[in-house]
Amino acid sequence: MHIPIETFRLGNGLTVVLSEDHTAPIVAVNLWYHVGSANERPGRTGFAHLFEHMLFQGSANVGSNEHFELIQRAGGTLNGSTWLDRTNYYETVPSNQLETALWLEADRMGYLLPAMTQQKLDTQRDVVQNERRWSMDNQPYGTWWERLPALCFPPGHPFHHSLIGSMADLDAASLDDIAQFFSTYYTPDNAVLSIAGDFDAATARQMVDRHFGPIQRGAARPSLPDMSVSPTFGGPRREVVADDVMLPRLFVASRSPVFGSDDYYAASVCGAILGLKKGSRLFRTLVREHEVAAEVSSFTYDLTKGSDLLVIDVMARPETSPENLETQVHQQLDLVVSEGVTENEVERAIALIETDLVVTLQSAGDRADRLSLFATYFARPELINVQTEKYRQVSVADVNAFIDERLIPSNRASLLYVPRSAAAIRSSDELVLEGAR
């Protein structure tokens, strides 16, 4: 798998990545700003994400919500998302509409502030507070989004605080904050623009020059504080949360090598061995053999600064007590530490990851997003073409070295959700099958 890549930089510092593919008349535009919740100042948790909402509220030449309307009228799809250390905005449009997408992105990068009003901010604050209620406060287990990073990074560390933000901090956000955040972080020299799909590179380059070229470079940005943390927790961590849930659920997070490092790939393969699909170690043992869990999965945060996290997520069956769930999961992890993994397990994990890498490349939007990712973090978009190779190089010894160093009990943070109400316990008795353990 090799996709063509052309990279250049405008005078104002904007990095541009182009990747042509003419199989369908579709083009994806994808912008990454190298700013996320990690850049928020104290008392303003959730601001990076609230700001993302404001970017859909119009700019000098675009009306409120017109960004959405123009792209949908053009036959395109669009959205944005905020993460710990980046924010992205993206559109996929019919290829003849490329310039509309670029014009819209340039207008809000260059000329956002004239369109900002107190009323728009108040409305989006309400919308975001409702997003918080929907995704977290009124959702079983929803608080894991903010509890797990808080458990894994020390107070004051940029990854410690909530990405969606507290209601009080969201209330405190002002138009001055908007202006300051915009002029600090939403500058061409802090952004990557990727275009993937059906376009002509020379024409696209002219469009990019025309629309983004006049935008002013930013001033010096405040650098993030020292993000480094020790490679392991140095002792087990544990938090128990009584919640409005019916079944116990356990997250186990380990500090792991940052995304992009050579060691990352062994960690990623280890995660797949433990929890990716039904042939994984934890599915086989906890779901299939011991029948204590209903679901198992694993993932990495893919953080590039300080430390990444490898997370195991296990949902109990109704008859499994929280204590038993926790014991069994840790026993399985202990077994992996003492016995290591097999050649067969590594091959299975890499085969699945390889298919996934190719499946992802089918969509122009995903291609553009991956290009922006590698360009933003490493200034090397061409890394998209070596991912399969990087995974293929991972050996049993690499995975076992990772396990010996990072999957040990002293590098596990357990976040355990337990049902709060007596009603849950009563109902769960009724739902247990006759003859069950």
Binding site: P25, Q72, N96, Q139, A351, Q362, S363
Partner: protein
Amino acid sequence: MTDRSRPRPGPPREYRFPHFTRHVLSNGVRVVAAPVTKLPLVTVMILVDASATTETAGQYGVAALTARLLLEGAGDLSGAALADRFERLGAIIEAHANWDVTAISLTVMRSRLREALALVRTLVREPTFPTRELERAKHERLAELLQQLAEPRTLADDRFTDAVYRSDARYARPEEGDPASVRAITHDTVRAFHASTYAPAGTTLIFAGDISEHDAFELAANMFTDWSSPPAIRPANAPDAARTGRIVRVVAKADAPQSEVRVGHRGPPRTVSDYFEATVMNAVLGGLFSSRINMNLREVHGYTYGASSAFEWRRGAGPFVIHSAVKSEVTGDAIREILLEVDRIRDVAIGAEELSLATSYLDGVFPIRYETTSAIAAALANMTVYGLSDDYYDTYRAHVRGVTAEGVLRAARTHLRPEHLQIVVVGDPAVVASPLETVTGLPVDITRPDEAALPL
């Protein structure tokens, strides 16, 4: 300042939905092949005429369980061995039954297709349904049902469905079965269901991706021609009888910070003659981000993170539903705005700008929907399941462009029936019950989640 005038798009480049060819094996298995050579990937989807609506009363959930158990033992392979074999090939395999069909879907690198498809052949034709795996699958379904009691979103969906359909209609019960029906399913039930529904005559193989038509047909023939079993029996039943009378129901969740809201009624079946008008109407009402309901509830009032509407298309008359999650204090106001929007789109024809937004979106986004082999296979599956004509995707965009404001108004008046709208809210009754009564002028029925979900 530089010239910031809006760019004008050039003419669109032509796009055609991938060309496909049909073939029928000697035993009646139908094959559809759509070669797409972008990346070395192939998706094979096997459709079997076995679904929630082909179940017998008392066995609800058997179609879903049967599909799920295909992967848990077949031929001389255990579930664990099957998973290992597929996954070492890097193959993504899934098997699900929904209201209309069972779909077994395989996505794999071209070089490993033959080996992976041989495994699929075994699990479709020779599943063993091990008792232990059946019991585990039942437990997991019961765990899911239990979870739902604490999960406002799925609880609202479930209670809404119950409010729309008559209690003896299949659509009133969960697609994957309720606690009583799931408990009652045995090894024999599953085996009998498989034997009576998985048959060549009701099966279609769809290939999409990096494979020629010739190779696809040959592979299909190699693996499925020697398959014979009695013709599938499809019980005639009416899964979609609607409840009569209005329901305004609050499913109690004390201190809920937000209300999960569902408003709707029985909608038309997928084969309805004005499908395109109904689709465009829904896009304007609540299908798009820029739709009336989302703009009203989210961008004007800030009541919610999002509000939308949808026809759930099925062979039978699936539901039409408006959904949102709103701050508890504004639940009554949000419902009032939703009801006003339903009235408004039935009262006056939509404007030219609204019409062109919806039609140009649906027209323009068409090629973006079929970027992946699995999306192309799913589109061909729709064609098969709903009996759409072979030129359906080639004429789709012209049909969309042909929709008029008058057609949309007719569709709104035909398919939206304010006097039948059922309202279900999962939220705090202390906060929402009284405003709901005021807004609807109807008595509010307050239930508890466990009363609603557990059989008496």
